[in-house]
């Protein structure tokens, strides 16, 4: 294993586990500035996690072992997902590989477990949020796979390292397919991170919670795991966006530096989107996502009409 | 059998289709069967003894039929006359046209004379036409008897005769056709009060 690969592996672990909470913190702090407030520092999520780690947990009456196991399973799934995403286009040969479809499967596992825990508690708000989240996920999955198809078109491989290499260089930027893929993936990022206009992460009204609903019934270390998992989701989709759809190129170190710049830029873009857009009506979101899918299909058609490569 | 006799048989069959009263029809059918029997008897010289027996059976059949049908008739008085859908002239015309058409179309079936062939087919056709055109139940039976007479005629007109066919046909007539038809005739009368096949339409599901 070369030095570059070892550094990539280290950045994967350290970044994914330790730096992940920084990303939602950055988004919140940018949003505060845009809204004219001073807001909390980007390290606020770390303080949250430390506070939660010291508190005692809650056991909802009438729950089974599923409720107790769910946060650990979700965190484990997301941690495995972090290992799958390469940084700078390189990753050591982890035994779990680096396949995009496996990553999607792990995210699905996390979603399934969280909603199952919601059913275990029987809580009305948790189930309301869970139902809406799952209804969105139907359209988000289709959109995500279309974006993946577009990303995989030049190389034909779903290995994330190969996808990252294929997206490097400047020749991809001339193809409308790549722009369409970028747009589609942008919508996926919004959906997976639960940001406006699809979902409001700052809401305290239980009736408006979508991805936060199931989290209502947890406290203490369980809630710490679940909040870290949400941060890890940010890390995964933002790094994927930077690696697959944003410009990068050159040697590993150049790409690592580009990534270090791209991540805060993407957080700023998320903050701008959240400030500029209001939350959309729940029943309008599928149309929004379907428009993204239509654009992705147009990209696919344009790739073929352009002759393919 | 000479051509004249054969055409008289056909004429009697046409009369059965046309006449209104049941008693007249029974008389005509009896006359037809008797004439057929006598004509077969006249052909016996030169043929086997079975043929003689068969011709006697034909004559006997005529008598038995007359008795059975007459007895059945007296037991079942129609409360009101059963009017057929088609007037007699039309019946006669249709039956005659049918007989002519069929006898023209029929290819050669191997009987001794062409006139016998045509008469046979004409009798069968007229018998079936009787079943179709007449409403009273008794006429259905009479139509089948006429048709069977046609088959018996064919059996006599074959080279050497087919006595077995004649006897079987006579047996068929007497036992199956008349008895069963008469029994049903009685039963239908009991059930519906009249021998009108229109009443049978109610049995359809």
């Amino acid at each position: 294993m070369s030095g570059a690969t070892a550094v990539a592996g280290a950045v994967q672990i350290v970044g994914g586990i330790a730096l992940a909470p920084l990303l939602p913190g950055l988004v919140q702090s940018f949003k505060a500035r845009l809204q004219g407030r001073r807001g909390a520092s980007p390290g606020q999520p770390y303080r949250e996690l430390r506070r939660l780690w010291g508190k005692s947990a809650v056991a909802v009456e009438g729950t089974t072992v599923l409720y107790r196991l769910a946060p650990a399973v979700v965190a484990a799934a997301l941690a495995t997902g972090v290992l799958l995403v390469p940084v700078g286009g390189r990753a050591p040969d982890w035994p779990v590989g680096a396949d995009a479809l496996v990553l999607i499967g792990l995210l699905t596992l996390a979603r399934f477990t969280v909603t199952l825990a919601a059913w275990d508690t029987g809580s009305g708000f948790a189930l309301m949020g869970a139902g809406r989240d799952l209804a969105y996920s139907v359209f988000v999955e289709g959109l995500l796979l279309l974006a993946l198809v577009l990303a995989a078109l030049p190389g034909g491989s779903t290995d994330l390292r190969a996808l990252s290499d294929a997206a490097g260089g400047s020749d991809r930027w001339g193809e409308p397919a790549h722009w369409c893929a970028l747009l589609a993936f942008g919508l996926v990022v919004l959906a997976e991170t639960g940001r406006q206009p699809i979902d409001n992460p700052d809401t305290h009204l239980e009736l408006t919670m979508i991805h936060e609903g199931p989290l209502l019934e947890y406290a203490g270390r369980d809630l710490a795991y679940l909040q870290w998992a949400a941060a890890a989701r940010h890390w995964i989709v933002l790094v994927l966006g930077a690696e697959l759809f944003l410009p990068h190129g050159g040697s590993f170190w150049v790409r690592l530096a580009t990534l270090a710049v791209a991540l805060p830029a993407l957080c700023a873009a998320l903050a701008v989107t959240e400030t500029w857009q209001a939350k959309m009506r729940i029943l309008r979101v599928p149309r929004f996502l379907a428009a993204g899918a239509g654009i992705a299909l147009l990209g696919l058609v344009s790739w073929y009409l352009g002759g393919g490569a | 059998m000479s051509g004249g006799v054969v055409w008289v048989l056909v004429g009697l069959a046409l009369a059965v289709v046309t006449v209104r009263r049941r008693s007249a029809a029974i008389a005509l059918v009896t006359a037809q069967s008797a004439l057929l029997g006598i004509g077969a008897f006249a052909l016996t010289p030169g043929r086997s003894t079975e043929f003689l027996v068969a011709s006697l059976a034909l004559v006997a059949k005529a008598a038995v039929l007359a008795a059975l049908l007459g007895w059945s008739l007296s037991g079942t008085r129609e409360p009101h006359p059963v009017w057929d859908d088609t007037p007699p002239i039309l019946r006669f015309g249709l039956a005659a046209t049918l007989a002519l058409g069929v006898s023209a179309l029929i290819p050669s079936i191997g009987l001794v004379e062409r006139s016998s062939e045509q008469a046979t087919v004409a009798l069968v056709a007229i018998g079936i036409a009787t079943v179709v055109l007449r409403r009273a139940t008794l006429f259905q039976a009479l139509g089948l008897v006429v048709a069977e007479n046609g088959i018996a005629l064919a059996a006599t007109a074959v080279e050497g005769g087919m006595p077995l066919v004649i006897e079987l046909g006579a047996l068929f007539d007497v036992i199956v056709v008349v008895v069963v038809a008469t029994a049903f005739h009685e039963r239908i009368f009991d059930e519906l009060g009249s021998g009108d096949t229109h009443g049978l339409r109610g049995l359809r599901d």
Binding site: L134, V149, E217 | V131
Partner: protein
């Protein structure tokens, strides 16, 4: 005769004996044991052939004499049959003694298994069609034996009518193939004959497999059959129909056609999306599972269509990979669908209720059955590291590769299919979260459910075995992949690994994934510590948590029902009783009608009935009219003879 053939014959003999012995009520246990032995021998013979032995028996022939044989594909289906049938029979040991007509049902089960095996090993047209008909009729008999009421009889009528109408396609296809001698020499079929055979096979085998839009019988028939027979129907009968489709499309038609591949892809997409969408809005557990069978048959059809398209474009490696994906999903679906149906049967036996809104909390009362059912639900939802994820991963890989293939039509089809399959998986997750939540978790919703007892040992053993099989097939799918890819025409050879590894693309390292997940979960649980948690009620804004506040099946799926209103067209009536200006009572009735029934089947049935009513005009009831028809016929024939038209 080779050893494999002898084993297979012994197996069939034991199966037949088991069926006959079952007719004596006291020997039910022995009969079922004989059937288990018989079907295991058959499965063993099949597995031996698949795993590398030479094919036994004869090849396909168009001659009219019985011929049987086992080759790779038949062996695979025989092995799947054994894997599903053995737990089903063990389950029946506990399930049958309490139900109506037990000896007859046990004997019919043996006949069903025999006919399933017979279709798969038949090598000539007559035995194929004979066993095919038997396979159709035996479940109908089993349903009628165990239920006598009017609803069951209507269901059987619809089942027989639809399967026979569609199944005419099977007859046409097989007889056409035999007539043109295509078994021995596929090149003998002309263009028109190829089209006829392909269409007939698609309609015929598709009806039996449950592809939309020929699926109408499936959601009606599977729920009313006895549970182990439902498991066999969903697990194997629809797969045997796909076996027929595979034989026709891949072996007996001379070359893979573009239109057949695209049609299969389209029907597969329609079936998978439609099946899971209608499953989502059901509230009867077995009917929901039946719709999921339609969905999974759609996924298999996607794999088969992709394989045909790859073969058409000349990519032999990916064609065999897609073929292997379809076969792997066939096996996986058989396993987890049987598990789910047997579990549902156990719940039915325990609480006599299968309406989702009236169950609840069964995980506590029936831990083994409940846990196995949960594993089956996770498998069918396609979660790693279970077997559903492995075969769906493989199918997604092939569809992704199809999207990048090079021509516009195929590429767009592949892209749409990929997105559709992704949406299907998400919908299946939605549906089975709801099912597990309503059935196994939460408070019991009736007294009977609160007092449910665990299922007897045989039923438990059957479902736990199948759950273990799900895990095993999920963790080591790569052991089967090379053999399955080799079964394709122009089969490619792939190296054997534990996980799924394909050349030129990412890999699914299933064992490593499973181990990593378990280790990480364990580590996190340890880190969480064992501090006792304070018990508290669920948060309801300070109100008491009452049963009236709990969620129903319709409520949970409402967001999607509203989002897809134009497709699902739900109907609802709300009546409120108001007295003195105050609302006393509100009644809400909602229903999602099955669009295929209302828009497609009912008009067809209406037109057919109208035509029949017209034809009944000929039936005047008048003897004289019938004689007139006879006379007219004779006259017509005479004229024809005269004019020489009849020769």
């Amino acid at each position: 005769m080779s050893a494999v053939a002898a084993v297979a014959l012994a197996g069939s003999g034991l199966l037949l004996t088991g069926g006959l012995v079952a007719l004596r009520a006291r020997l039910l246990g022995a009969a079922l044991a004989l059937q288990v032995a018989g079907v295991s021998l058959l499965g063993g013979a099949g597995a031996t052939v698949v795993l590398g032995a030479d094919p036994v028996g004869s090849g396909f022939s168009g001659a009219v004499e019985p011929a049987f044989g086992i080759d790779g594909l038949s062996g695979f289906f025989l092995a799947s049959l054994a894997l599903v049938a053995v737990p089903a029979l063990v389950f029946a040991h506990g399930y049958l003694p309490g139900s109506a007509g037990a000896p007859a049902v046990a004997a019919l089960t043996a006949a069903f298994l025999g006919s399933l095996a017979g279709v798969v090993v038949a090598r000539d047209v007559i035995s194929f069609l004979g066993f095919w008909e038997l396979m159709t009729l035996v479940p109908a008999a089993a349903i009628l034996v165990s239920h006598r009421e009017e609803r069951a009889r209507r269901t059987v009528f619809v089942y027989l009518a639809v399967t026979h109408l569609g199944g005419a396609g099977v007859w046409v296809a097989m007889l056409a193939l035999a007539r043109y001698g295509a078994f021995a020499d596929p090149g003998a079929l002309g263009q028109g004959a190829q089209l006829l055979v392909a269409l007939a096979a698609l309609v015929g085998f598709g009806t039996k497999a449950g592809l939309m839009p020929f699926h109408s019988w499936l959601p009606r028939a599977h729920p009313v059959a006895p549970s182990h027979v439902s498991a066999l129907m969903s697990g194997m009968m629809i797969k045997v129909a796909l076996y027929g489709l595979v034989r026709v499309s891949f072996e007996w038609l001379p070359e893979p056609t573009l239109w057949l591949g695209l049609v299969l892809l389209g029907l597969g997409l329609l079936s998978s999306l439609g099946g899971v969408l209608y499953a989502l809005v059901q509230h009867d557990l077995k009917r929901l599972l039946a719709f999921h069978s339609i969905e999974n048959v759609g996924i298999i059809a996607l794999g088969l269509g992709a394989s045909l398209l790859f073969a058409h474009e000349g990519e032999a490696l990916w064609a065999s990979v897609a073929f292997a994906a379809a076969l792997l999903h066939t096996l996986n679906h058989a396993v987890f669908k049987a598990l789910l149906f047997l579990g549902a049967g156990a719940f039915d036996r325990a609480v006599h209720e299968l309406d989702l809104d009236r169950l609840g909390g069964l995980l506590r009362r029936m831990p083994w059955t409940g846990a196995a059912f949960a594993v089956g639900a996770a498998a069918i939802a396609g979660l790693p590291p279970l077997n559903g994820f492995a075969s769906e991963w493989l199918t997604l890989q092939t569809l992704l590769h199809l999207a990048g293939l090079g021509s516009l039509g195929i590429g767009v089809a592949g892209g749409l299919a990929t997105a559709g399959l992704g949406a299907t998986v998400a919908l299946a997750v939605y549906c089975f979260v709801k099912v597990v939540g309503l059935v196994l978790l939460g408070p019991p919703r009736s007294r009977e459910v609160a007092e449910a007892v665990e299922a007897p040992l045989s039923m438990r053993a059957a479902v736990v075995f199948l759950a273990g099989l799900c895990v095993l097939l999920g963790v080591l799918p790569g052991l089967l992949l090379p053999r399955l890819a080799g079964l394709a025409p122009d089969g490619a050879s792939l190296p054997t690994h534990g996980g799924l590894e394909l050349p030129g693309t990412g890999a699914l390292p299933a064992p490593a994934l499973a181990v990593t997940l378990i280790l990480l979960t364990g580590a996190l649980l340890l880190a969480r510590g064992r501090r006792a948690a304070a018990p508290a009620p669920a948060w309801a804004c300070g109100q008491l948590v009452e049963p009236a506040l709990s969620w129903t099946s319709a409520g949970f799926t409402k967001p999607l029902r509203l989002m897809l209103e134009a497709v699902l067209r739900p109907e609802r009536t709300v009546t409120a009783r108001i007295e003195g200006g105050v609302v006393q009572e509100i009644a809400y009735e909602g229903e999602v009608p099955h669009l295929f029934d209302t828009k497609l089947y009912r008009p067809v049935v209406r037109i057919a009935s109208a035509g029949a009513a017209q034809a009944r005009r000929l039936q005047s009831g008048s003897l004289r009219a019938y004689v007139l028809y006879l006379l007219a016929l004779v006259l017509a024939l005479l004229v024809l003879v005269r004019t020489g038209a009849l020769g």
